[in-house]
């Protein structure tokens, strides 16, 4: 029997990770719960000032999304590292960056995509201008995969350390900042009724850059962590 084609191996690993996530769904819901909780606390703390809330809504939503993404990062490779399946993945005859991309995709589908579904609801609660809803969804759709892809490099570097949590945040946060700036700026601009084409183009550029480079970097970092 021949070994699976590359795309078959990609889909197989993606499906396996989704199945595992489904079986651990309570754990997987954590980032989403965090996202919702942080955002609902803001109106309580700041008070009922609709104008102020609407003004800071883009920032709140994106800071919460960023922290929610960081919270879930360690899960990309942790359990695979602990039970030795990561070792086996690196020894596979398939190119490791493609397998890494499958794992990161699964991670994004489980932790990033749900944010997209609840974001409009939270935006409505904060009183964000209706014109900005489309751009809000677009920034989350383009931005959260970038967070997962960049984060995977950091996790791959720290997965071999016993207490890599703090180093991971220090490594990854600076790289998250451009995404934060451009996405909240895009929503801001859209809320004032101006076109956000420039910011969205930059985010598209981030996404393609991360898609093409980060799996290679992650695969190299994983090999270092394993040796």
């Amino acid at each position: 029997m021949k070994r699976l084609s590359l795309s078959q191996a990609f889909w197989f690993l993606l499906r396996r990770d989704l199945l595992l996530a489904f079986r651990n769904r309570s754990e997987m819901a954590n980032p989403l719960l965090f996202f919702v909780l942080v955002i609902t606390l803001f109106p309580l703390a700041i008070g009922a000032e609709p104008n102020l809330l609407a003004r800071i809504a883009p920032g709140i939503i994106w800071v919460a999304a960023l922290l929610a993404s960081m919270l879930s990062l360690d899960g990309i490779f942790r359990s695979d590292f602990d039970d030795g399946t990561l070792e086996q993945m690196l020894l596979s005859a398939h190119p490791v960056p493609v397998l890494v991309l499958a794992k990161v995709t699964a991670h994004w589908l489980v932790t990033g995509l749900p944010l997209l579904l609840v974001a409009p609801l939270l935006a409505m609660m904060l009183g964000l201008d209706e014109d900005a809803y489309g751009i809000l969804l677009l920034t989350i759709l383009l931005g959260t995969p970038v967070l997962s892809l960049i984060g995977s490099i950091g996790v791959a570097l720290t997965v071999g350390l016993r207490k890599g949590g703090i180093i991971l945040s220090l490594l990854v946060l600076p790289l998250y900042v451009p995404v934060l700036i451009f996405s909240s700026s895009a929503i801001d601009v859209a809320a004032s009724g101006l076109p956000a084409t420039a910011q969205i183009s930059m985010m598209l550029a981030f996404l393609f850059l991360a898609l093409s480079l980060s799996p290679v970097a992650t695969a190299a970092a994983l090999k270092m962590s394993m040796s």
């Binding site: 029997m1 021949k2 070994r3 699976l4 078959q8 191996a9 197989f12 690993l13 396996r16 199945l19 595992l20 079986r23 651990n24 359990s79 602990d82 039970d83 030795g84 399946t85 070792e87 086996q88 993945m89 690196l90 020894l91 596979s92 005859a93 398939h94 190119p95 090999k223 394993m226 040796s227």
Partner: protein
Amino acid sequence: MSALLQTRDLSCVKDDRVLFEGMNLSLNAGQILLVEGKNGSGKTSLLRILTGLSLPESGDVLWQGRPISEVGADYYEQVNYVGHHDGIKRDLTCLENLRLVQAMGKPLPIDLDEALDKVNLYRFGDNYVATLSAGQKRRLALARLVVTEALLWIMDEPFTSLDKASMAMFQVMFEQHLEKGGVIVLTSHHDIEMPQSDVVRLNLSE
């Protein structure tokens, strides 16, 4: 005929301690290398270098005469590694784990229920790995040898938590693999009784 697996001037240093240096090994088809030595003498390090997971301090590992870093994917296709960790997911069933193993390697045309039967796990196909005992998990980890095709088997303490009957069963399986022209490298604290086979012993403590 040139050797399948060779090492050339291999040395390994961990935390400023030299574990071994200038190691020259040569294994032909049908030979089994039994790596012995005290705890911490570098058995696992040697095995990981042979798989390519770790890099040696100096020297090369050669597969059919070419360095494994050059051979790349064609080498990985020929290696089956059973490490210290079982490499199976506890939240998947036995069958799902075997399918994953096949997807990552070069699958053999074997019915998976039959494969489970070969490692004495028949009827456990739909059980979650989390519910298995330590020995059963180890047998499932070793089942990767049955469901994928590879010439070189590298195993780190394969007999941990196995009972005597299972150990004997796997030794028969090893002998069959050697008869078919395979190569095996393993570490074990248990005695290996394979009188029919060409056993090469390497003691890292001496």
